[in-house]
């Protein structure tokens, strides 16, 4: 199983008995996760540089973890530097733009500037959809920058049916279903509107427990082949793993 999206840093905030790494390792063994693809929660919400660096330390020592380098449209120069620093390392497999409420709408000038710089690295762009308007912004980005591939994590409050309809217009966008949005039908509709090669599994760890998303996928009314694609095959292909 390949986990296409999680965030590094939440467990540390909670100061729980288990460390972030212990929790991820335990779940990897229990559920058969071969790779976690994580973005730094700290880089998305706080210090861009320190957050990416803390995640990089983990990816360098643990082959289980791959990283998305986080960029911040409010800090264009620093974002360029972060992409250059980490995307030459094989352990970083994509670029994450924080959710719009934390940075800028996907259709904004600042976001477009970041994407312009990101194109040269030929890795997928991880984005977050808080509303269906964000899906329009993402569609506009992939149309403007040809060859750009994007992954969209749908968040609570997003009208996912409309978002899928909008995203279905570009083959360069896939969605990641996570335990952050558990409304019944989101997986089946994702498969129906985007196709079974464009839906990926994301645990949302360590913000939410991996079993939440896994439970959704096991329950969804899809074929076993589609389930397998969502749990592993699609992530391997979209993230070049």
């Amino acid at each position: 199983m390949v986990d296409a999206f999680g965030e590094w840093g939440w467990q540390t905030l909670r100061a729980g008995d288990e460390s972030e790494w212990q929790l991820l390792e335990k779940c990897a063994q229990r559920y058969g996760v071969s790779h976690y693809c994580l973005a730094s929660a700290e880089a998305m919400r706080g210090d861009l540089i320190k957050g990416n660096e803390r995640l990089a330390q983990v990816t360098r020592t643990n082959s289980l973890v791959k990283g998305y380098v986080v960029v911040n449209p409010n800090h264009l120069d620093e974002s360029a530097g972060e992409m250059k620093k980490y995307l030459s390392e094989g352990q970083f497999i994509g670029i994450a733009i924080p959710p719009p409420r934390l940075s800028h709408p996907l259709g904004s000038w600042r976001t477009a500037e970041v994407v312009k710089m990101a194109r040269r690295y030929d890795v997928p762009l991880l984005t977050f959809l808080e509303t269906e308007k964000d899906a329009e912004g993402l569609l506009s980005l992939v149309r403007t920058f040809s060859g750009l591939r994007a992954l969209a994590v749908l968040l609570r409050g997003c009208d996912w049916w409309v978002a899928f309809r909008i995203l279905s217009e570009s083959p360069n966008v896939a969605t990641i279903v996570t335990g952050l949005l558990t409304e019944r039908g989101v997986i089946e509709q994702g498969v129906a509107l985007l196709g079974d090669r464009r839906v990926l599994f994301g645990s949302g760890m360590t913000k939410v427990h991996i079993s939440r998303a896994l439970g959704m996928i096991l329950e969804a009314d899809i074929t076993d082949r589609q389930r397998q694609l969502i749990l592993e095959g699609n992530a391997r292909s979209w993230l070049s793993l």
């Binding site: 729980g16 288990e18 558990t182 427990h209 439970g215």
Partner: protein, 246 residues
């Protein structure tokens, strides 16, 4: 885990009706299909018409659904404190009809739990011995609800909570011992274990939010948690049964 996977579950948080916000099928057939698939013996449900439009009409519809499903689905009545006139009569009528508990939806209906009308309602329900569930998704609400229910003897269940307000909820639950918590919003790693460590397993109640939400997104985290089999049985069955039968 092997033991608890076979026990007949009781679910405090299910829905029937027409869902206005998304194309999700909330027919009784869908809900009972989910219940059969996951070994749910009983589900407490509300009718969407009662929540989103007219409580009187919706509560009547809930009775019909319950009758047609032969005891599998237990209706929870609701009233909307924004409609002052006839609230007490509606509560009394539903009690006479056999409703065993009520649910409140301050977030969905845009009112505040600290409202004087809700305080009156909570006292009235307490006088009739009727437990109730209430949404508590925001910071500050658990404190307000705690103040409203502090002197009551009926059990009260908080639903629709989030990680953001769990610390507040646990603080309030330690003070107010008739407060219980639904599992539905407890989605972060270690959340269930944290609640049980702080207030014990007797005050946590399984709720799925089905069919609006995938049932397994709530069940699997509980079954796979580090809680003992005894604690899981309390959460999945016994705690809610005790409240409903009281």
């Amino acid at each position: 885990m092997a033991t608890t996977e076979r026990i007949p579950i009781v679910d405090c948080d299910t829905w029937v009706g027409f869902y206005p916000f998304q194309d999700i099928d909330l027919t009784p057939a869908t809900l009972t299909g989910i219940m059969r698939r996951f070994n749910v013996a009983r589900a407490i449900f509300v009718h969407t018409t009662a929540v989103f439009f007219d409580p009187k009409v919706g509560n009547d519809m809930a009775i019909m659904v319950a009758r047609e499903n032969g005891g599998l689905l237990l209706p929870a009545a609701t009233v909307n404190p924004l409609f002052y006139r006839g609230l007490a009569k509606e509560v009394e009528k539903r009690k006479e009809q056999g409703f065993r508990l009520f649910r409140f939806f301050p977030r969905l209906q845009s009112w505040l739990p600290r409202s004087a009308v809700f305080k009156d309602l909570a006292n009235f329900l307490n006088g009739l011995g009727l437990p109730f569930l209430i949404e508590c998704p925001f910071s500050g609400w658990a404190t307000d609800i705690g103040q409203v229910v502090a002197g009551l003897s009926v059990p009260v269940v908080l639903t629709g909570t989030a990680e953001d307000n769990l610390a507040e909820i646990l603080s309030v639950m330690k003070e107010i011992t008739n407060l219980h918590l639904s599992t539905q919003g407890l989605d972060h790693p270690g959340a269930l274990e944290e609640v049980v460590a702080e207030v014990g397993p007797g005050r946590l109640i399984f709720g799925s939010g089905a069919p609006i939400h995938y049932f397994q997104s709530s069940l699997m985290p509980l079954l796979h948690s580090d809680l003992s089999d005894e604690a899981k049985t309390l959460v999945l069955v016994e705690n809610l049964r005790r409240i409903v039968q009281a």
